[in-house]
């Protein structure tokens, strides 16, 4: 059979491969190359070695955005997953209206980042006005504003995945634990948590990469104000690239570093949580 299919390469695989080459392979290789160049467009690129990478470290906004992003990622991953898991536990107890609640919590996830940003800008500035502050008063307000926004957007999504995980736990396993005299806490710790580990892997992976790569919400909510102090990595790269003349190469080099970081985090995270999974 393999032989019969093989000669259909142009029909089955070629269209995707061509688009993939245009949309990913060439831009990626060119992107890595350009990070070693000074350029304003692709055609006038001049090879300069590691100069761009050295210039990055002289740019304090990059270092700041790196820490800001890391901190934001940790806080939002924890907040989203804990909230989502708690809600999922409560919504699998068979209470009335479960379906409606599930519908409501999931909905914000479908709204795009730009729109979310402006919705929350209105709400949060309205609340802060009572204290004579605004979202862009200091980066701390922007930080917690973004955390609240991300929770609102993502808790519902993660909750859905956790609910599926919890519902997949075989009922007799819980019965058996109960007969053995396990209390609720022991049940959670020794039965539920290990059994939903695959869901935890997925959810923490999704929230981790989403938070780390956040761009639209950041742009709409604070646009990095004040003084680029609430600027996350993705926005910092964009601003370096398009906002400053003569810094295109540095922006591209930052993007390469950004990519390496995302890849590292993804690999480490998947390894760490996969090890904890048990076979159901």
């Amino acid at each position: 059979m393999e032989k019969a299919i093989k000669k259909y390469f142009p029909i089955f695989a070629l269209p995707t491969l061509l688009a993939f080459t245009i949309g990913f392979i060439i831009p990626f290789i060119l992107g890595v190359y350009l990070s070693f160049c000074e350029f304003t467009t692709v055609t006038d690129a001049k090879f300069v070695g590691f100069k761009n990478y050295i210039r990055i470290w002289g740019d304090s906004t990059f270092i700041h955005s790196l820490w800001y992003t890391a901190l934001f990622t940790i806080v939002s991953v924890l907040a989203i997953n804990i909230l989502a898991f708690a809600v999922a536990m409560l919504l699998t107890k068979g209470i009335k209206g479960t379906n409606l609640f599930r519908t409501v919590f999931f909905m914000p996830n479908l709204i795009g980042g730009i729109i979310l940003g402006y919705i929350w800008q209105l709400i949060l500035n309205g609340i802060l006005a009572g204290m004579e502050r605004t979202l862009t008063y200091s980066s701390a307000y922007g930080f917690w504003g973004l955390v609240i926004l991300m929770c609102w957007q993502q808790v519902g999504y993660m909750m859905i995945i956790y609910i599926a995980g919890i519902q997949n736990i075989p009922g007799d396993l819980i019965e058996a634990a109960k007969i053995d005299g396990a209390n609720n806490r022991q049940l959670l710790r020794h039965v539920t948590l290990p059994m939903v580990m695959p869901s935890i892997t997925i959810c923490s992976f999704l929230t981790l990469t989403n938070s780390f790569k956040l761009f639209d919400q950041n742009l709409a909510l604070t646009a990095g104000e004040p003084s680029n102090k609430s600027e996350m990595l993705a926005l910092n790269i964009f601003n370096t690239f398009y906002g400053r003349n003569g810094w295109e190469g540095v922006g591209q080099a930052k993007a390469v570093i950004f990519f390496i970081l995302v890849a590292l985090i993804a690999v480490v995270q998947l390894k760490a949580t996969r090890e904890k999974e048990v076979q159901a």
Binding site: F20, G113, I174
Partner: protein, 280 residues
């Protein structure tokens, strides 16, 4: 669902969750009633309901539509999303079947590349991709579909491959022996079986494409084609300061279709997300 137990405090939980649900949709409700207020009353007192002094009817809607041509943006967003999702589903599922069924160095390295591309942040390729798209004249609603196929192929191929591996070979072999060409086999046997995965992929890709801001902003010829996120963001800049009235009104217009769509197709969306997460 055998694990459903009667909750002890079912009634109380229902009440608590009802309250949380109301709080959860509050931001959208606040934006909704603010969209009927005169713009200077929006940022000054965002939580006050419109009264006789601040009520302006649909004036904000009219001025917003006048400024950013939202119906047109809606048309472009819809065309691009539907087109991209359709093309992605068709091409990547075929490609996934091919690279799973035909085993050689080319297909396995393709698989690796697709998986690899999933973690690449867009900033890494933003400049080079937009430049290549421009050279190839892909800066229009039809062309950007190819860009989306290229940049979005990774996740889709990966998910389809996961599913194809679980389809028993026997059915396909039987069909081939009965004289089906690979193309017939694919469309008559394989694709129908893949429908659940296709729905998952469609939902994930649709959510991404519909809400995407940076890729269309850099790739599309923005003086002719603006998608909804670009149009909304344009309210902030092109005309000086943010016109809060128009902003509120346009946010409402942009999210009503999503909410209606969500309520109508809720079942598929939630199932699709669960299935997508578990396989991804």
């Amino acid at each position: 669902m055998s694990s459903v137990r009667k909750a002890k405090h079912g009634g109380l939980l229902t009440v608590i969750f009802s309250i949380i649900s109301v709080i959860y949709v509050m931001p959208i409700i606040i934006v909704l009633y603010n969209s009927f207020k005169k713009k200077i009353f929006i940022s000054k007192r965002p939580f006050a309901l419109p009264d006789t002094k601040s009520f302006v009817g649909v004036e904000n809607y009219i001025s917003g539509i006048e400024k950013i041509e939202l119906p047109k943006a809606f048309g472009y967003s819809l065309f691009i999303t539907v087109g991209a999702v359709f093309v992605i589903i068709l091409c990547t599922s075929m490609c996934a079947w091919y690279i799973t069924r035909v085993k050689n160095a080319v297909t396995s390295s393709m698989y690796m590349l697709f998986a690899f591309s999933m973690i690449i942040p867009f900033q890494m390729v933003m400049f080079t991709l937009s430049k290549i798209a421009d050279i190839l004249k892909l800066g229009n609603p039809v062309g950007i579909i190819i860009v989306y196929l290229g940049f979005g192929a990774g996740l889709a191929v990966f998910m389809f491959c996961g599913f194809v591996k679980s389809i028993p070979l026997e059915i396909e072999e039987a069909a081939m022996i009965d004289g089906c060409t690979p193309i017939q086999t694919y469309f008559k046997i394989v694709f129908p079986v893949m429908k659940p995965t296709a729905i998952s992929v469609a939902i994930l890709e649709a959510m991404w494409v519909w809400n995407d801001y940076l890729l269309p902003y850099l790739v599309l010829d923005i003086k002719k084609y603006k998608t909804i996120p670009i149009a909304i963001q344009y309210l902030k800049g092109g005309y000086g300061a943010i016109d809060m009235g128009a902003m509120m009104a346009m946010i409402i217009l942009a999210i009503i279709p999503i909410i209606v769509f969500y309520i109508a197709c809720q079942k598929y969306i939630i199932e699709g997300v669960v299935a997508g997460a578990v396989k991804g």
